[in-house]
């Protein structure tokens, strides 16, 4: 009702023939919104971070849907498990190291060490490529053992989840392809840049996502 944001006077409660007066007083005084709130007319720097956060929510929901379907299938009788390709351990280590390198680089930039930042960012991107190559090797290992996409539900989910993760990782590598040349050209200066921060957020998310996928595929 219009009275709830309104100064609690009796007159407000009686909407007459000419329309209720409700709301005006309370709204005009605002909920303390003006003028304390920062102006939003120019684009605040955190728009990119916010947009990325929403994108991560959507990607997370995609994998929640994949994995709940997977957990549903696991209840089946006659469930078969694919052999764990040993290279996945190495891949896991590579991706965690990549994430650590990116984060270290971001902090180097913040503390003013531009060269350290460039090297760390390049290392992180390189390890990302190595991870993706490692995933392809894992697929190759399985194919050599005769485990294909359509072999049985577990193999289907393995290829599906690693593939979907890989596609998103590829998107991260595209981001690296954009920011790395800029980093070496000196576009990013201390204390940091939105592009670098958003890319590293995405990258850490993908590392976490990989751990989730790895655990749920083989250890749950």
């Amino acid at each position: 009702m219009p009275t709830e944001f309104v100064a609690p006077t009796k007159t407000k409660a009686a909407p007459g023939r000419h329309g209720g007066p409700g709301g005006s007083a309370g709204r005009s005084n605002g909920d303390g919104a003006w003028p304390s709130r920062a102006p939003a007319s120019s684009v605040p720097a955190n728009s990119a971070a916010l947009g990325m956060a929403f994108a991560l929510v959507a990607i997370a929901m995609l994998f929640v849907a994949f994995t709940t379907t997977y957990l549903g299938h696991r209840q089946d009788v006659g469930w078969k498990q694919i052999p764990l390709p040993w290279i996945l351990w190495l891949d896991t280590g590579i991706l965690v190291a990549s994430s650590a390198a990116v984060e270290w680089g971001r902090r180097r930039l913040r503390s003013g060490d531009t060269m350290g930042f460039r090297r760390a960012l390049t290392t992180g991107g390189g390890l990302g490529v190595a991870f993706l190559a490692g995933q392809l090797l894992a697929w190759q290992q399985l194919v050599r053992q005769g485990v294909y996409l359509s072999s049985h539900p577990h193999s289907s989910f393995f290829y599906l989840l690693t593939g979907a993760h890989g596609v998103h990782l590829l998107g991260g590598l595209v981001a690296f392809a954009v920011i790395l040349p800029r980093a070496w050209r000196g576009t990013y200066t201390p204390p940091g840049s939105v592009a670098v921060n958003v890319t590293s957020t995405y990258w850490h998310f993908l590392t976490g996502l990989w751990l989730y996928v790895f655990i749920i595929l083989f250890w749950l």
Partner: protein, 593 residues
């Protein structure tokens, strides 16, 4: 380190607004208003496609024994009618047009947070439209498994003609459309959170923006779930996986080479998306209707906070009710009871909204514009459809009504027609901002009367078909003796549907004729309060020369003591009004006089 100049962000580059080439202005536009218009034109075209398909379906059902359509074409027409209307018309126009066009204008921003992403959203939407339309021309025709595409029928290309290449293209088209909608959704959320004008707190947002905001959250959480299901179904169809195909499915006496899938999981994933989806189609309209009703009642919206909270409640509950689409799937009766209860609870926020609309209209000096008529009719349709929803929510009753015309009647009222009416209300209301011209009100009222009568005459009798047991996708009602008595009703429905369809041509004519030759609109023809009416009609690129500053909520209509019966959000409280409206920003509440 070389030159350390940060690159100009798109927004900074955008703010200068240099003269634009034709392509930059009309085709690859970054301006949210042009993108909104692009969405409007494409979705309007898709609405005509979807409406034409409905006419085909009705033509067949008026005289099923004549076989105007063959069974495959009939099922494909019904499937594509639903697909086009839900995905490519309602979802897309409500977010793509209303979201893009209105968000910056109503929150006082120059443009969206990510104009490039906005353009990308339209230019990923368009291929999805083309792929869907292309599926009409492939061997076997378009998808024919219903807009829900239940597996395993949709997972096996050999299962039916409607499950051929058309179904694959359907999956691809919807997947691309979902991607496009997600681009839009995260843009909307970021823009609403970050780009509001000075003084425009969330508690002062117009309800239209609240509706779009909650819609975008629902999209962000539910569209990826459908996308996951689409990917798995596509793999089942093309790569031989068995996510949704159980072992031992026989087609033409032959066992298909699939094993280990669960067909029911498709339904779970689809409806986990599907129920939030139907609220995506109704929450935005609820916001639009609230603003239209308040403006033309010349009264503040009744219960602003209750309106926002009930929208949020409906949005939240939408994730807990998907099972009510699956009561006949053999679910545990206790689970069925749970879904019945969670579904029934939605009646509470829905009723709060309905009563608030009625109370806003109560004792108001209503201005009966075409927009208001559509908004009030929205409330009528929403109530009619909502009441039949209570029947369907009760699992024992639904066991009987499931997949009958009762369901068709229900969702055509509560979701399809209601959303359509809000789109009409919104179009008549915001048309001056779209083209700087007014729509013809006389034609608008004729269109309204015919559409309102047409909707009720078409869909209300479907309740009786449903209670009579007529299945919703039935091709041959004439072969069942128990349906012979309701065949005249089918004829009546078809005649009404043709009248309804023909009446829409009035709207199309009015839309284009008014856009080209309508009388010029002043900036604020309806004397409304929200920010878009402080911009020019139509607003220039960048919307305002100076960003507006907001001093009040959007519903200051008929404030006693004010010179006019409306006070735009940008008006600071003048000393003369201080007794009623208080002084903005000085921290103390202006009490009564």
């Amino acid at each position: 380190m070389a030159t350390a100049t940060a690159p100009a962000t798109p927004h900074e580059a955008h703010a200068a607004h240099p003269p634009e080439s034709f392509i930059r202005h009309y085709i690859f536009s970054l301006d949210h208003k042009m993108i909104g218009k692009q969405y409007y034109f494409v979705t309007l075209f898709m609405a005509l496609v979807g409406g034409g398909l409905a006419m085909l379906v009705r033509a067949h059902l008026a005289a099923p024994e004549k076989g105007i359509l063959d069974p495959g074409t009939y099922l494909a027409a019904a499937t594509m009618h639903g697909t086009v209307m839900i995905f490519f018309f309602l979802t897309t126009i409500l977010t793509g047009f209303f979201g893009n066009f209105l968000i910056p204008l109503m929150i006082g921003a120059g443009d969206m947070a990510f104009p490039f992403l906005n353009m990308l959203s339209f230019w990923t939407f368009l291929p999805s439209v083309l792929i869907l339309l292309a599926s009409f021309f492939v061997p076997g025709g378009p998808a024919g498994n219903g807009w829900t595409s239940y597996a395993p029928l949709s997972a096996l290309p050999q299962a039916s003609p409607g499950s051929g290449l058309g179904q694959t293209l359907w999956l691809v088209a919807i997947f691309i459309l979902m991607t496009s909608s997600l681009f839009g959704g995260l843009n909307f959320l970021t823009t609403i959170i970050n780009m509001r004008a000075r003084g425009l707190s969330m508690g002062r947002l117009p309800l239209t923006i609240w509706g779009i905001f909650i819609t975008a959250i629902l999209a962000l959480l539910s569209f990826p779930v459908l996308m996951s299901a689409l990917v798995m179904l596509l793999l089942d169809r093309t790569a031989g996986t068995s996510f949704f195909v159980p072992a031992g499915v026989l087609i033409g006496g032959k066992v298909v080479p699939h094993a280990g899938g669960e067909a029911l999981l498709w339904q779970h994933l689809f409806w986990f998306f599907g129920h939030p989806e139907v609220y995506i189609l109704i929450l935005g309209p609820m916001g639009i209707v609230s603003d239209v009703i308040s403006t033309f009642s010349r009264k503040p919206i009744f219960g602003y906070t209750a309106m926002v909270l009930s929208m949020a409640a409906i949005g939240f509950l939408s994730f807990l009710v998907w099972g009510h689409h699956m009561f006949v799937s053999g679910m545990n009766p206790i689970l069925g009871a749970t879904f019945t209860i969670s579904t029934m609870i939605i009646a509470i926020p829905s009723a709060i909204k309905t009563f608030n609309w009625l109370t806003t209209l109560w004792q108001a000096r209503i201005q009966f514009s075409t927009a208001l008529l559509y908004a009030v009719a929205f409330v009528s349709l929403f109530v009619t459809g909502g009441l039949s929803g209570i029947f369907l929510a009760a699992s024992p009753v639904d066991l009987y009504f499931h997949d009958t015309y009762f369901v068709v009647a229900h969702f055509h009222f509560v979701m399809a027609s209601a959303a359509l009416f809000s789109i009409f209300a919104g179009t008549y209301y915001w048309f001056p901002k779209l083209f700087g011209r007014m729509m013809n009100e006389t034609l608008g009222k004729i269109h309204f009367v015919l559409t309102f009568i047409g909707i009720y005459a078409t869909f209300f009798p479907m309740h009786f078909l449903g209670t009579h047991g007529m299945s919703r996708r039935l091709y041959t009602p004439s072969t069942y003796p128990f349906l012979a008595s309701v065949q005249p009703l089918d004829v009546f429905i078809s005649a009404s549907a043709f009248m309804l369809g023909a009446a829409q041509l009035i709207f199309v004519y009015n839309f284009f004729a008014s856009a080209l030759r309508g009388p010029k609109a002043e900036p604020n023809p309806w004397h409304a309060n929200t920010l878009e009416w402080t911009a020019d009609s139509p607003p220039p690129h960048g919307n305002w020369p100076e960003p507006p500053v907001v001093y009040r909520w959007p519903y200051d209509y008929s404030v006693p003591g004010a010179a006019e019966d409306y006070i735009p959000q940008t008006v600071p409280a003048a000393p003369a009004l201080a007794g009623h409206a208080g002084r903005a920003g000085d921290g103390h509440r202006g009490g009564g006089s």
